[in-house]
Symmetry: C2
Amino acid sequence: MADLSPLFTVNSVAIIGASKKAGKVGNVLMKNVINSGFTGKIFPVNPNEYEIEGLTCFSTLSEIPNQIDLAVVCVPALNCPEVLEECGKHSIKNAVVISSYFSEIGPEGLQLEKRLVSICKKYGIHLLGPNCEGMMDTRIPLNASISPSFPKRGDIGFISQSGAMLLSIMDWSRTVSLGFSRVFSLGNKADVSETDLIKCLANDPLTKVILCYIEDVQKGKEFLEVASKATKKKPVIILKSGTSQAGTLAASSHTGALVGSDLAYETAFTQAGILRARTMTELFDLATCFSYQPLPQGDRVAIVTNAGGAGIVASDTIENTGLSMARFEKETLDNLRELLPTEANIYNPIDVVFDAKADRYAFALETILNDPNVDSVVILVCPTAAADPENIAGKIIELHNKHPDKPVFAAYMGGFALAEGVKMLTRAKIPTFTFPEPAIHSISGMVKYARHSDHETEGEEISYNDIDPNQVKAVFYDVIRDRRSVLLGSEAAVVAEAYGISTAPIKLAITPEEAISLADTMGYPVVLKIASPKIMHKSDVGGVRIGLNNADEVHSAFIDIIENVQRYLPSVIPHGIEVSKMMPKGTELIVGMTRDVQFGPLIAFGLGGIYVNLLKDVSFRLAKGITHAEIASMIAETKASTLLRGFRGERPADLMSLIDMVARAAKLISDFDEISELEINPLFAYPDGYVALDIKITIDL
Amino acid sequence: MADLSPLFTVNSVAIIGASKKAGKVGNVLMKNVINSGFTGKIFPVNPNEYEIEGLTCFSTLSEIPNQIDLAVVCVPALNCPEVLEECGKHSIKNAVVISSYFSEIGPEGLQLEKRLVSICKKYGIHLLGPNCEGMMDTRIPLNASISPSFPKRGDIGFISQSGAMLLSIMDWSRTVSLGFSRVFSLGNKADVSETDLIKCLANDPLTKVILCYIEDVQKGKEFLEVASKATKKKPVIILKSGTSQAGTLAASSHTGALVGSDLAYETAFTQAGILRARTMTELFDLATCFSYQPLPQGDRVAIVTNAGGAGIVASDTIENTGLSMARFEKETLDNLRELLPTEANIYNPIDVVFDAKADRYAFALETILNDPNVDSVVILVCPTAAADPENIAGKIIELHNKHPDKPVFAAYMGGFALAEGVKMLTRAKIPTFTFPEPAIHSISGMVKYARHSDHETEGEEISYNDIDPNQVKAVFYDVIRDRRSVLLGSEAAVVAEAYGISTAPIKLAITPEEAISLADTMGYPVVLKIASPKIMHKSDVGGVRIGLNNADEVHSAFIDIIENVQRYLPSVIPHGIEVSKMMPKGTELIVGMTRDVQFGPLIAFGLGGIYVNLLKDVSFRLAKGITHAEIASMIAETKASTLLRGFRGERPADLMSLIDMVARAAKLISDFDEISELEINPLFAYPDGYVALDIKITIDL
């Protein structure tokens, strides 16, 4: 993978396509680089000019005697390959191509874009873009982009797949005083991807939070590995758009992204510990809170308010976001009772009442900052006649500096009357909102992240010495030779057993005698079922007989079934009749799968039976390398887990054996890409094990 | 109910407790009334002053020669009864009591508050408060409150149960230029309630939207009637806090509100057509959109953007909020194709691309405003180099004025660069946001409201001539005489049948012979079950025998059961044995109920069977006066409805008979307040009817 860290120490920039003409991209770039306070060398390149913006202009790159750390290209698309060749010859290792008219316009542009990539490969150039807005770095500092707004210095790293959104964010960030470390516009992602940049920002000591706006991920596996490591170091927050059908249509008419399914993204993000923002506002609220405050050590939130109503709204939000209301120590309550007025509520939310001034806020805040049962504090201020918002802000800042490890947030609920206080708090990096809800939603995100990053790597990848892939291949070979894609039940059972999944005994019989002998071996009662992938609804054609208790019943059922099928479907030649042992009824589960273009196979687990499509009680995980711990959490997410723990007095199911079973199914679909469908429904769970009853496998070469 | 319309034409105000001393409530009030531009007469009342703020001061109300339309009281709590007596004697009909230390401080204050109410009753005074911030009216104009911010004139009516929140909102509203018609602080709601004020604002021609922040509703039935009528005239948007357990605790330590359950509020709000805001931001976003724009005629939204990414975010939100992406007419597409650049996307979302200026936006906007398939438009502007945000704003305003019936919204995605454009749009009442999501969420609320207000009153209340309340009373009488609260199964069946609900035949037998005779009459197979409300788990003590096919089996089962029960529970004397007819299995449903302190009985419908607690697939409606149409929509909300429509090839159930059944159950629990529990589980639905199988009724006198 690309090592992009040299981008953080750029000392010389060449702008190929630099222009004297105001308004032209080549001129905007020149001005932006110069105005950003870049202290390195700037080399405009344009064969028609001698000087641009006071700097000597070169006709070609080869004329420049110095080493160049970064080439920014804004010549017409058709000239880009030539420019990149020159870059390569001049040993330039990093290039940003602003120019557009590449893959975003269709097949013709895609061809040209591929040429760029192959030139970059030849010379080992890292290419950002094409069709991007460039990059910004507040630390170098360097604005090598066409964004007129250069953000404040800060510790948020931002990666955007949409150039125009990036312009929006940069402009908006100045109004809320949000600071960035490095900002990248991905453009068409011909070479450098979000994955490369997440990796590079994860290693950047000046970046505390990684923020992404993306429309797709192109190398799912790599992305997942990189993101999982990054989130152990710092939060990664992503707004992934194009999640809806409407959005996907819009996305594909946009940068032509080949999008995976939202289910796969959701699963992948969760597993990698990525926080997914649902709206632009949420994305930046989270970024602000992570950037400004330390992580809360737990989920217990305390509220201080001068208005009961505001406290209630905050309490509701705390509960609805899954956080807890902090319960104070006795000492805290004693202190609050002693020094707050009698009308005050000393329990959480602390209501310092309408006539509170800064001193009362300060007293309450200090008391709870000292309480070990409080993990974070939200201070609500309404513009009552008594409230002195600036003094309150002063006290909040002072106390936060005294207790820097406990995160503090504020909602200054009002407008003009509170504006000065809001400014003070924002300058002091206390995240301050107009209403309490966004503060609490952000805390919830921080707690979620803190929990994830606390987790040790969840278990080891599992290795098996009892699986038999050759057995699976042998079955698949028979199926293919037979020009089928759907396995018979007996074949599917062999495949499952080859991976150590317990199935109900099921065998194919060609004659009634064979069926009887199989049944005798399995033990009664048994089920007989016509074996033919061509017959979808086997019961409807009289192809199924259940509860057969002895050889005679098996014999006559066999004859019946054959006669029935011949009558209803004379053209179908069945493979025979499957004899299976009837199993006692257990908790009905389903194990299934889906395959995503970016993220590979996903394993599914949930409540089984005939209502499975109705209830949709299914959870998903990426199948590759799944651990037992992940499977346990996957099962815990479903309503089925309530049943498995022993519902209405029933005995609990054998969870360990189920986890092992899901792991084996995941291994099977990971090992065999050709399995396009696997559904075990029902899977019966018992107090002492499980059995996979009805297994459907489809392969697709 | 109180007629509060005289409050809109106040010509004279007395301020009892007026003060000269800056900072005192009596002085703040004087200044606020004067500074609000009130043109009527102002009478300060204070026995110790001759003049306050340049106005003659009166020592008592009785000295004032004029008629007084509104008394604002801010004397200490203990003096309030006396002042209200004087108000009564002086024929004052409307009083606002700002003073606190009433019910909010506990039993002592509650006593005093009750005295106020009884004085007001005696004289026919409408009392707002006590412990409130007062009222504001931008039309009179009059700021009879202690809020230092007097809002801009507008058409939003606002009712707040939290005084401090009201101060917050008033202050904040000025920064976003939001206009109000009338504003009320409810305080302790001793007399005038949210219901009175919603009614009064519903009739106010100068109020276009009614906004409420409330923590509880005190007279559920009245509230529901008033709100249902109000929402037919104008939108009512409520932020109801105290919904969580944490919030409820905070609420009860606040104004001492006796809160109902959130389920009942949710149900009541939905039935009354009230929009429920989830956050403060959502409350005011909705208010702004309703206030500024006409209602959309449907759910089809069109997007115009100069950035693909922003269009995708907007499309996602449209789909996620249940709105539709507008699909343009051929003519629209032809026009767009002809006049937009080739790189532009002419399908929704229309991407006018990064170099679009006002003219291109204007052309796209006008084209889609003319398309009959577009119900609302959201315009997204990113600060690209080409974009001219003020000119674009100018065009949007111009075109909106030309097409005033189609609502238009904007997201100006940026900060300083777009600020001037945002101001222009806000002044012209185009709701403008920083990001697209809040615009689309608001449209979704507007569409929801438009649909509700379009609905004709949903069916008629149902009257029955085939129900027999006396039969129910007779059963209840037996139960009470028997010192029980739980009905026997056979009793519950009689009650249900008395209300026309079809039950499975079930009768109580005392002897085996009686059981056989009952079974003969019902027809076989039958079930025998021990009859005793003291035995909860009848199967566990051998108290149930199913599938009895003839007289002999019934006889021996009867003996068995009696013996079993005697062995396991020798102290229990059963009522006998219930004989019931085994019914064929149908779709398993549940009908149940709950009772709310404010809103009365709620009827529940959902998926039945043993998983009912696990799946929680249940919808609720207020039972009183429920219509068949409401029941149909209630059933449609559940997953059970999928089954009822005929799942996996099964025949659909007889929906009409089910609706009738639910209506009858609702009638039963509405007629008998003493029914504290009714649960029919399972209720079997068939293609040609239904049968209530297991009915549990508990009464509580």
